[in-house]
Symmetry: C2
């Protein structure tokens, strides 16, 4: 039996998670998968309001032994500042469960309108591999002379050999397995002249071990421009924590799929559970209306199935998503130009899967 | 007499600068402007190859008393690593001359094809105000255990009250002067949870002093997505050094104008010279071919004229750029879909100005 910890989180997470589970249960039944879903009511802002922290102190005992975590979205800034809710949940999972790879696709899907002119489905198909545990997201730093004119705030970016090499290795392996075998590294070594030249050095060292992978690098500023101007160039893109964060919103934005893109936070050693979530956040502005798009959640579930070894079930879910997106008569949520509810779209995909 | 230090720099800077000067001289004559252009052959990689440094030791004496610096582009990675050439020139100017505002437009121009679907000239018209002297571009940090498996590299992000407030004030003043009076702040306080919440705090404090300015903020990841999905929303965008760098390439990319966008590095106190340059780099791949687009250089010159108090001359140059871009019969460089040379395009603008 594979045990999956389910955390719906805040806002639209409460609406997309039931649809994610609906589809997971449908394919689990169809393929006879040994999955058990266990829901936990923490790592959300309602929990914080009641307990003054995002999670119980024994959270690691409660979910650290599971095979995967299926997460909705977290954050409710009206009551809890984002940096408190995020560092008390998602960012803590990534670090404590050593989910050092964040893997996110940017893919032009049938039936989805791209904001870019003249692009067809198939034109854009890349994976963004983001370092997920260190780099610019550090907890080292602080303030001097607070509240005065001399106030100074410092925050350290931290790159370790171990941390950089392991995510690069994952990215090179992924690139080597793909037909185009191309890897692009995001850097900024001309401006961020201490940590980023180090990143470049490690990319070069790793590239020497993968002669079959074509490697290039771009500074993050021009790389963002290239995402808009020639997204078809990219196959696997590897980036530091912050640059990966930016590129994995921008990539889906260029494919018009920001509401449907998934995010897999992977611990490839499987010592701790990996975590699967939509890229989108809790979206307080549309929460409670039943109009959220559940595809990000469902696609994240598909990545989870794949990671748990259920490739056929993954393929069935992806085919169902594509079928429903491509079918003009199928229900569509508002962001896709339709007027269906979150539930209606979830049901349609569950039926097609 | 206003003295302008001219530094052509590397690569296509050698080709675009003569066109920039051609247009400046044409309007100086037409409007009777008291401008003197003085060329200096340093702050380029050829100088580095001969002297082992990018500039003579007395560079500050040589150009620190000028009224402005007109710069081409710098960098020739085949012989000098980018972080050496940039920190030995452009980034040093920004810091030593305390050019704490980097001001860059992203504007949809007539005759330029945007990669975004269905956008018209006028739809996109924003200013990006970038902090230009501190933040993520710090020179504080280093390595431990170099060359070993335990290697660790650290780099400090530094935000000071003085540094943050002065660029925010510039941005709020600019927003207040514009019809829409809207200011967007780029943040990442949910993830970069020490420096960026401080940035947010200072934005809030400054906003209280400008009740007429409509303020919003977005995390940099979703902000990049919005640039692609609804660029018409933005009026003035203020950002830290790194985020401003990213947005001021992405914005022009969305308007199709990355080869023609200018960058003004301003010291608003006028204690030291301000610096005007194209956004594009030295472009080694097309250098020496005479096909570079000189408009970034010329538009930078127009911003320089404005900063030096010559508003009418600025307007004439901008009108000339727009006329030539909009005229299908006018010469266009390759990036604009034509086959004219850098010189031909420069001449056409000089004649129209
Ligand atoms: C060349 C580089 C150091 C520079 C920067 O990052 O500031 C450039 O990208 C720019 O935007 O002026
Ligand atoms: C919510 C935020 C802290 C998070 C991040 O920056 O990692 C999100 O943007 C993401 O990409 O998962």
């Amino acid at each position: 039996m594979q045990r999956i910890a389910v955390l719906a989180g805040d806002g639209i997470g409460q609406e997309t998670m039931p649809e994610g589970l609906r589809v997971m249960r449908a394919v689990a039944e169809r393929f006879g998968l040994p999955l058990r879903f266990e829901e936990f009511d923490f790592a959300n802002c309602r929990y914080y309001e009641q307990h003054g922290q995002m999670m119980p102190s024994d959270w690691k005992d409660q979910i650290g032994g599971h095979d995967a975590i299926f997460y909705g979205a977290v954050g409710w800034p009206a009551t809890v500042p984002d940096h408190v809710s995020l560092w008390g949940s998602l960012l803590q999972f990534r670090r404590e469960f050593d989910q050092y790879v964040n893997l996110r696709p940017a893919r032009l899907m049938p039936g989805v309108r791209s904001p870019l002119a003249g692009r067809q489905p198939g034109d854009i198909d890349m994976w963004i591999v983001r370092e997920n545990t260190e780099g610019e997201y550090s907890s080292v730093g602080g303030r001097m002379y607070p509240g005065t004119e001399r106030e100074i705030v410092l925050q350290e970016t931290v790159m370790s050999r171990v941390g950089v090499d392991r995510v690069l290795r994952f990215a090179f392996e992924l690139a080597a397995s793909r037909p185009r075998a191309r890897l692009t590294s995001a850097t900024k070594s001309n401006g961020i002249a201490i940590t980023m030249p180090y990143w470049d050095e490690r990319v070069e060292a790793m590239a020497a071990q993968y002669p079959g992978v074509g490697v290039d690098k771009f500074h993050i500023d021009i790389l963002c421009a290239h995402f808009v101007q020639r997204p078809q160039h990219f196959d696997v893109v590897v980036a530091s924590n912050l640059f990966g964060d930016i590129l994995s919103d921008l990539g889906p934005a260029c494919t018009g799929t920001i509401a449907i893109a998934p995010s897999a936070n992977l611990n490839p050693t499987r010592e701790w559970p990996s975590l699967f979530e939509p890229v989108h956040g809790s979206a307080p502005d549309i929460a409670g209306k039943g109009i959220a798009n559940p595809i990000g959640q469902i696609w994240a579930g598909a990545m989870m199935l794949d990671f748990l070894g259920h490739r056929a079930a993954h393929d069935a879910v992806m085919a169902a998503i594509e079928t429903v997106l491509a079918d003009p008569a199928a229900p569509k949520t508002r962001d896709l130009g339709g007027s269906a509810s979150c539930t209606q779209l979830g049901q349609a995909i569950a039926e097609a899967a």
